[in-house]
Symmetry: C2
Subunit: 421 residues, 2 copies
Amino acid sequence: MALNKKPVTGMKDILPAEMQLRDYCINVIKETYGKFGFTSIETPCVESIGNLNSKQGGENEKLIFKILKRGEKLNLAEAKEEMDLVDGGLRYDLTVPLVRFYANHANELPSPFKALQIGNVWRADRPQRGRYRQFMQCDIDILGEPSNLAEIELILATTTTLGKLGFQDFVIRINERRILKAMAAYSGFAEEDYDTVFIILDKMDKIGADGVKAELVESGFAAEAADKYMSLFDELTANGNSVAWLAEKLGDFLEPEVSQNLSEIIDSVRATKASEFEITFDPTLVRGMSYYTGTIFEIAIPQFGGSCGGGGRYDKMVGKFTGKDVPACGFSIGFERIILLMMENGFQIPGQPKKIAYLIEKGVSGDRLCEVIAQAQEARKNGDQILVARMNKNKKFQKEQLTKEGYTDFVEFYKNPIEKQ
Amino acid sequence: MALNKKPVTGMKDILPAEMQLRDYCINVIKETYGKFGFTSIETPCVESIGNLNSKQGGENEKLIFKILKRGEKLNLAEAKEEMDLVDGGLRYDLTVPLVRFYANHANELPSPFKALQIGNVWRADRPQRGRYRQFMQCDIDILGEPSNLAEIELILATTTTLGKLGFQDFVIRINERRILKAMAAYSGFAEEDYDTVFIILDKMDKIGADGVKAELVESGFAAEAADKYMSLFDELTANGNSVAWLAEKLGDFLEPEVSQNLSEIIDSVRATKASEFEITFDPTLVRGMSYYTGTIFEIAIPQFGGSCGGGGRYDKMVGKFTGKDVPACGFSIGFERIILLMMENGFQIPGQPKKIAYLIEKGVSGDRLCEVIAQAQEARKNGDQILVARMNKNKKFQKEQLTKEGYTDFVEFYKNPIEKQ
């Protein structure tokens, strides 16, 4: 028949071993974030196409899986363009749906509202190794909290969770959009060029300081500005990446409360952290999304090249949708990367029940079968995991397969127990 | 702006109180099914449109949310019909994806394979109260087990789970497609008419025995057959719905192993059940899907009119996809109905942590802020749920809101503690 055994292009089936790890991580995440007062919410996977195309999703808006209109609304003969055919799409992130959710339910929610979302998102990206078109995101957001208490709580909650999942010695890189801007202004770049400058600065990891400088000049910026900009980074490094030093250097280009605010976040997190990690001011951190208005941060895990999550403050996004600004700040864990790293590291899930397989000879039935099942029920009540299965013809192979699944004990039940002994 | 605050038609946002209950239920389900050796798997929410339209989904195939082709593959100018425009769709159940999954991975899976799936499905049904176009299904299936051990394990696992969720005095109604057929044959109906007869029989709950009889005659069946059929049900009731009595009555119309097999399931479940419920043979149970080949069963919960879940044996479905039959049997819980009932009954989630809100006056910062956060971190380590938030201007209202969220204790932190006391 027409069945295609493979999942659709770019998406994957999840087998039992990986699912067990995912379920474990989700439980740790929900429990830990719960302790910080984050409450789970869920939105539909489908959003109206108008919401998805609202310019908040940046490049992701080009990658939407669109959903065909149904019934009378679908008029194929008169359709002139794609948008005539569709009315919804699969969400490409959890932030746009969160903002819609908040706009819809603000009256029913406490203030501040601390939301936890774990859910799939879809992007029709070019398929590549380790990146899928359906993947899970795990976001926490605080809406309605203007002070840096939001950043402190988000960073402590996320790092405590990562610690509980066995990660240590990772680094939280933190920066501020307003510091980024002040450094550019100080160096003589024009405000309308900031975004272009930051896109080039964002390549620092890959092309180094000299590369950034060269590309700035190539892009038509004044060599003087590029020089001053790169010297500022050099001096800042020489001064231990000190926020206080930078604030003094930038003078009137930066409001004092911005640097104080950032320093307080870094100091508070250092003083109260519950797991082993470092938090450092990183003036080269840019983060792609243009909707960020203040602090931005990222998780760098040594075993893993890129970022394993990040976030920041986006105080103007709710207002763009509802007409009334609401302070907002979020932190997203790169769930799929975390799972990948844990599998590569051979992470052992703690507190697993004892796994016992009861193998029953084919002819066992009636009262004898009831006895075996009753025994299994009793063992389950005592906390064991009991697989009750018919004995296969090739018992040895069956046991090998079950051993791979983690079964350590086998009990065999025969129709005539005495005969077999 | 263009933002639509509402979720798309027929789908819903899930608020924190309901999410907490859903998360609790999912954990109980995963833990309990786990004890029976069921392992979680997941498939993508999107399936190829060919798989979804493979005639296994019955009426649901008319309700598919279809996904538009992308890039060069989408040729709007030359598209003549809907199917030229789409390449995928959102799954309408978890059974078709499971069978595809099994076909794709059978070599990597143990035999028998006991799968647990909890996931959303989508159906573009007419929206109505309490029914949504995105809803969660929770299925367990055993693939590769030909004996009634599959049915016994599925029913015990599902009923144990329902018991742990606080349900009792519910009824598992069980029947056999082959008994349905034998009763129809015995009464004189022709084999090609069975499906029509069963569709009418399925209305017994609503129109009663007289109604069924009248509709059979109206539909053109011989009054003699309708009479004999309804008398058989009457006699069976008078004989306590005994499977053994029916088997003798039906004689050669029913293979003896069918009734023995069914009786053994009922007896074994009664003898080993771990929660309070009844299992009864119900000769009027039909279940809609034509793919069932043997036992069929349903959960009836007294507080709730309709079915809260069901399943059965479908030994021929894998073969229709792969060319090689594999015995298969599944049981699906009506997750959304279970949640609805639990909310209506005011179910209290056990083992909740103590919820304490720390309210911090606006001016608190620096070392004093660190002290407060450190205290919160310590309490979290000890198992409490601590919300750290800035004190709102209207402190009374803030506390009222938090009380609604389940916070029982409030601790207030001021910039100058002594002054305030």
